[in-house]
Amino acid sequence: MTVEAHTESLALARRGRPRFGDLALRVLSGGAVLLVVAAIGLLVEEVVSNAWPSMSKFGPGFLTSTVWNAVTDQFGARYLIEGTLVTSLFALAIAVPTAIAIGLFLSELAPRRLRAPIGLMVELLAAIPSVVLGLWGIIVLGPLLATDVEPWLHRNLGFIPLFSGYPSASGLLSACLVLTIMIVPIVASISRDLFESVPGELKQGALALGATRWEMVRGVAIPQVSAGLVAAVMLGFARAVGEAIAVAQVIGSANRAPSSLFGQGGAMAAWIATQFAGTATSLQRSSLYFLAVILLVISLATNLGAQLIVRRIGRRMGTRA
């Protein structure tokens, strides 16, 4: 029996009866959606209700207060918010150009034989558990920073406040670099796929018109995929903001102003991870939930911001992103 004949007979057999398969599909997929919506709803409810004692006690002042002290029961998130933003943005600043360059290399420049193995390695980098990266940060990266990199930066760029201070193995710079390593594979593999999605005719056309390869990339490829690149960068940012374990391992856990990259600091997700077990006061625990609320708001804002930008670029490009 041919395949067509078989499907036809199946269709005949089904005619006139309730379509069990369709019903099951609807129930299953609808149920899955409900599950996600319920999970998010319950999560937000749980986090906010646990954060409530801290929210009602400290109010918006929580965002600007720099004190985090379990002895006096005073809590504020300013340094932790700053630490989160400094480490994430610094990591993005290094990771994004690197990752886009890798994406371009893999899609446009690399010899065909090398593309698959290098691409695989980039993706493997994304598969390394963050705790392993954190350990690498402690054992390899930290000592290297403390003995070589930071003293060099201090000698040559010490006039910039970010590179002043005493070199140390654990600190914001360590956290920035570990986060960079985490973001690069995400942004790199997305941008490679994006560049590969640019129609060959466009690239060929640009080259045929006498554009150099660089002009083709700058004038055709990058504008074509800019919306996607923005989304990739936002994804990387969200990853950096939300990373807890690896950052906790290398940042040096201190509630201090992130005025120098060599110094110790704190980031919200890592702070929750280190402080949550056995909090000394109930207000401290509630304040950790407050940090989680702030993280939720930041990731929501990042997502919405990304969608807005993507839509705007899409409109400008005349295509739907």
Binding site: A13, F20, V67, W68, N69, A70, V71, T72, I138, I139, G142, P143, A146, Y166, S168, A169, S170, G171, A248, Q249, G252, S253, A254, N255, Q264, T274, Q275, A277, G278, T279, A280, T281, S282, L283, Q284
Partner: protein
Amino acid sequence: MTRMKRAAAAAVAAGALAVAAGCGSSGSTTTVTAPGSSSSDSKVLVGAGSTLVAPLLAQWEADYLKSPAAVTITYGAVGSGGGIDAITAKSVDFGASDAPLSPDQATACKSCVQIPWALAATVATYNVKGVPNNLKLTGPVVADIFLGKVTAWNDPAITALNPGVSLPSTHITPIYRSDGSGDSYVFSSYLSAVSPTWKSQVGASTQPTFPTGTGEEHNSGVAAAVQATDGSIGYVGISYIAADSLNEAVLKNAAGQYPQPTTGAIAAAASAVTTIAPDGSISLVNPPASAAKAYPMSTYTYAIVPTASSKASTLKAFLTYAISSTGQAFGLPLGFPPLPAAVVTHDTAEIAKIGS
């Protein structure tokens, strides 16, 4: 016919789902015996908490299973903070913490009692190239180091205590525990007792806010960071000194002596302090000068148990065993000196409060 086949297929699919669900639930029943959940079997006791007391519990586990009681003790060394959370949630039969419960924790852990069941110490450790073991320090100097007032190893405050030791100008890197820790509690309580500045600026807590230095997770993280950093100073539970062959600083006690943190020096501190606080905690830091040989950063470590337990009799029997001379005898080779008689009497009364 096809209808029946379809019904059969649906039944098989439903069966498969049920099996899958069954796997899920059997998966979670296996975790019941792991630390984190109480088991209803009264031949099993589940505990979680302090890493400091874990080596002693390992000995008790092995011995108590062979004893006539034949009860299996399953202990998860998740840290004092994790132990307090676990017993507060009543997901274990007992918790273990090197710090007594804070008032908020005691309220949350409804009608829990804390039973001091072993003696130990927190030890200051350091790593400075060329500087030998047993550097002499005083509490106020350690406080000034962790306050960021003494920043070089050749500071007069340190050299004056160590004539004959050549100290380099290396920058001091203080290293502390970033997670909630009994060792941080002992360390900061000791510094609060000997340094008014520390008391007013930092205070005593399982998670004090250190004004300078680097935070690392768990004893293992502090030990590793001290070993990796030239010029570092930190504090760890006593068993980590030998395990990681770390230097130990000797601290000046109230009598002006510099005793090493031996079991004898810890026992001397314990026998000099007889005050038991209403919450059942006993503070051993900075014992009076009458105890000339006392180590000044000694501590009790506590079992935290609910007064209403579904396994009351098993729990009571195990705790009685732990504080008995049989149980305490396992401690000595591991660095835990036996409990003083007065504390054993107090504990016995506390254990009697446990009911079902």
